[in-house]
């Protein structure tokens, strides 16, 4: 507030001291306003003095005083012949001098002016009307609440804005045809009118009128120079404009910062360039990728054919012997098992797995609430139909080191649940499992395999999931590939593999590890074609033979008989029998009949 006041003071002093004379003198006549400039407030009575002096007598003086009707309301002192024009016609003037006062009421704040035009001096000699017009600038100060708080052009603040100054000169680039002009008012109730914003090349005048319901209106003017097309659109320098309307007084005020609107334009240009660049990159990459894909597809087809050929050859070599060989090999294994069994008959072995009174309940709601709404309704109605389903009922057994245990039972009898509990995936409802969990390994094939990844990536992913360290996979990688017979296919996506290839790879990864101390198998795994089946069976058996404790789940008695040292029969969630393989399997088969 203080600052603004001092500004006014300076303006006033400047006004009084430095103003060049506005007096018109022709053949000795003087026509002048009482003051070289006026500084008024809004809504007050003001007076304008008009002085005429001629060195000869005048029969009749006639002059028109023009002013902007919007700013000033004429009250008295002359004849209002039309809005904004007052006629003065005194005479005769014997001493040639005339002075009068015009009374006005200020009705809108802003910069305006008042002029004396069309002076006719009637003398005895004739009529002299050769007078240039005289103009005096007027500034009507706006009360605080009629003022603007700020002006933004295309989103940029007008930096030189001062709410006490009403005129700004701005230069913009050619490409701005219609600037966005935003304003803020000090009085929130005030309304603002902005005149037509279309810019033609050259000078344009945009008028902003603030209407405050309390204190009245104020007018701000933006003079916008729109550059010509040829001129470079990017300008950031400040253009200093001399404002002469208010007798040079306001030149300080109208030193206008340009540039801001063109910053916006520059951003747009950059935007476009970046976008274009992106699109170009996109197209280039697209093209490259297409090319790359084409060559890769060709290669793939070539490889496929090669593999098919190899496979065919291998098959033709083996089909004749396969059946016999397979039989023979499993027979061999069987014999081997006998030896192992003999070896293992020496007891005194540690108990490695102790299952004590395990029960497992699943609570199932009869028709489950699968949505919040349903649940809410059910809770409110207290109608939650909970069904307890007992998957395992008080199972107790223990496994000694080196034993190969077969868990047998019909489908749905709880075998898999038991395995999950032992391996630690599920906590039991009752009872406990005593085991070193780090030594347990559930052999699963292809957990987490992803068709979108390459063979190599899947080896690492699957390996990580089943607990291999990175170093271990690095070390064993070649061995895995070799065993799976997938050399040359590892950098292809698994989705392009045949199902046999996938299972070979999965098997190879899962069984590459050193045999764990406790191995759990859900069904004996043998995968792939006849040729690979032999290989995979041999590997599983090697693992079983290598002295670890093994738990195998199966519903086929023959498998159990073939491999296991003892067996557990679970039926309808209960432990039916636990003992040597032969008798358990016999009992199981008897029941099934």
């Amino acid at each position: 507030m203080k600052k603004r006041f001092s500004l006014k003071l300076i303006l006033l002093i400047l006004l009084l001291v430095f103003l060049p004379s506005k007096t018109v003198q022709a053949e000795g006549e003087t026509i002048a306003f009482g003051s070289e400039g006026y500084l008024w407030n809004l809504n007050e009575q003001v007076e304008v003095g008009i002085h005429f002096v001629a060195p000869y007598p005048v029969n009749q003086l006639e002059m028109l005083v023009t002013f902007e009707d919007r700013f000033l309301e004429f009250i008295a002192g002359g004849e209002l012949i039309e809005p904004g024009v007052v006629r003065l016609a005194p005479g005769p003037l014997f001493d040639g001098a005339y002075s009068t006062m015009l009374n006005f009421h200020t009705r809108m704040a802003g910069d305006t002016s008042i002029s004396i035009r069309y002076v006719n001096v009637h003398t005895d000699v004739g009529i002299n009307s050769e007078f240039p017009s005289v103009t005096s600038p007027i500034r009507i100060e706006a009360p605080e609440s009629s003022r603007l708080g700020g002006i933004h052009i295309n989103g940029y603040d007008l930096e030189q804005f001062d709410s006490a100054l009403f005129h700004y000169i701005i230069e913009v680039g050619y490409e701005i045809e219609m600037p966005e002009i935003g304003v803020t008012t000090i009085d929130p109730e005030a309304t603002v009118e902005i005149s037509d914003r279309n810019l033609s090349v050259g000078e344009n005048r945009i008028v902003i009128v603030v209407n405050s319901p309390v204190t009245g209106s104020a007018q701000y003017v933006l003079t916008i120079h729109r550059q010509e097309a040829s001129e470079t659109p990017i300008v950031e320098e400040e253009t200093v404009e001399e404002e002469t309307d208010f007798a040079g007084l306001t030149s300080e005020a109208s030193v206008i910062h340009e540039a801001n609107p063109s910053v916006a334009t520059r951003n747009q240009v950059i935007f476009t360039i970046v976008l274009l660049f992106l699109v170009l990159v996109l197209i280039a990459l697209f093209y490259l990728k297409m090319n790359f894909n084409r060559t890769r597809k060709k290669e793939e087809i070539r490889r496929r054919n090669e593999e098919r050929r190899l496979e065919r050859r291998r098959r033709s070599l083996q089909t004749s012997q396969d059946a016999n060989e397979y039989q023979k090999s499993s027979l061999d294994d069987y014999e081997d098992f006998d030896h192992i069994e003999d070896f293992r008959l020496v007891d005194e072995r540690k108990i490695v797995l102790q299952v004590e009174g395990i029960s497992m309940d699943f609570t199932r709601e009869k028709d489950e609430a699968s949505s919040l709404k349903e649940l809410a309704i059910r809770i409110i109605r207290r109608k939650r139909n909970i069904n307890k389903f007992r998957a395992l009922n008080d199972i107790t057994f223990s496994v000694k080191e080196g034993e190969v245990i077969g868990i047998i039972g019909t489908n749905g009898s709880g075998k898999s649940t038991l395995l999950k509990i032992i391996s630690g995936a599920l906590p039991p409802t009752e009872g406990s499992v005593v085991v070193d969990r780090d030594k347990i390994q559930l052999l699963t094939l292809g957990t987490g395999f992803d068709g979108e990844l390459t063979g190599r990536e899947n080896v690492y992913l699957n390996g990580a999931i089943i607990g291999y360290s990175k170093e271990f996979i690095d070390e064993k990688y070649d061995e895995i590939v070799e065993f799976a017979e997938l050399d040359g296919f590892m950098d292809e996506k698994v989705r392009n593999y045949s199902s046999g290839m996938v299972s070979r790879l999965a098997f190879s990864v899962a069984t590459i590890r050193d045999t764990p101390e406790i191995l759990i198998l859900d069904e004996v795994l043998s995968v792939g074609d006849a040729h690979f089946k032999v290989k995979s069976n041999a590997r599983i058996k090697k693992q079983i033979r290598s002295g670890s404790t093994v738990l195998i789940v199966s519903h086929s008695a023959s498998t159990i008989r073939e491999i296991c040292t003892s067996a557990i029969w679970i039926e309808k969630s209960k432990l039916m029998m636990y003992g040597d393989t032969a008798s358990v399997c016999a009992a199981y088969e008897r029941m099934n009949k």
Binding site: H152, N154, G155, Y156, G182, N267, I270, F271, V274, L275, L278, L282, L285, F286, K289, I351, V352, Q354, I358, F362, T363, S370, S371, L372, K373, L375, K420, I421, S423, G424, A425, L426, P427, P428, T429, G431, S432, V433, V434, V435, D436, R437, D438, L442, T444, T447, G448, D450, E452, L453, E457, Y460, L461, A464, I465, I466, G467, S469, K470, K493
Partner: protein, 272 residues
Amino acid sequence: MGKYSELYIDDVGSLTEKQQKRKQYMFLIRELVGREIKRKYSRSFLGIIWSVLSPLLRMTILAVIFSQIFDRAIPHFPIYIMTGQMIFGLFTDAANASLTTLVDNRPMLIKVKFPMEVFVFTRSYSAFVNFMYSMVAYILMLVVFRVSVTWYVLYFPVIVFFTLLFALGTSFILATAYVFFGDIKHLWAVITQLLFFTSAIFWSVDDLTGVIDVVVRANPIFNYIHSARQVVMWQEFPSVGQNIQMIFWGVFAYALGYAVLRKNKTKILIKI
């Protein structure tokens, strides 16, 4: 409840074993994240470049549209939008992906023994990796729009860290809830929408008053976004209140989420 006890006491010190385990989990998470990202872009031509491209394009769309709608534009509007979007994207990407993670990974959860937090970590970490790729675009834009960055920007990683912590906590809760109620997915979509509009991503909070002002300022994501803008664009340090809010939401959400998941672990296994 059943319990497990160890029959053998290992000769190896338990500390090194723990480290071993942690190392294994880190390896696993890295592999899983690799899978997520490769899968996300597996059928696209540009692949990972989309992570850089899509924030740029989204920013462009928002910037173009909203600079037309709002007459009072915000300085450096594209950067303003992009900052908001990146932080918001980090949060929603993590939360949306984590929502279904336990259900998606059902087979692994049952067959293999490792903590189920791993799956949530994986999805959130994927979102974070994506975020880091977007940073390339972000830095590019900072250069293009000549945002003068000062040393305040060093605080940016801290803000991102707490955003991630908040996202993780939310993810834990969402993933747990989704196991029991599929509806959460749809409900969450609506909440995400709400968060998007109350996070001041494309508009300024300066003119807000009343209820909406309170709502926006209480929105933790807005707080993260606002702080990020302060340190990157405005060379300001987040106020003490903001810092407290930031840390509180991050730590609180994480602790709560972790507790929720832990508590429901058994139930989740049975339900799945």
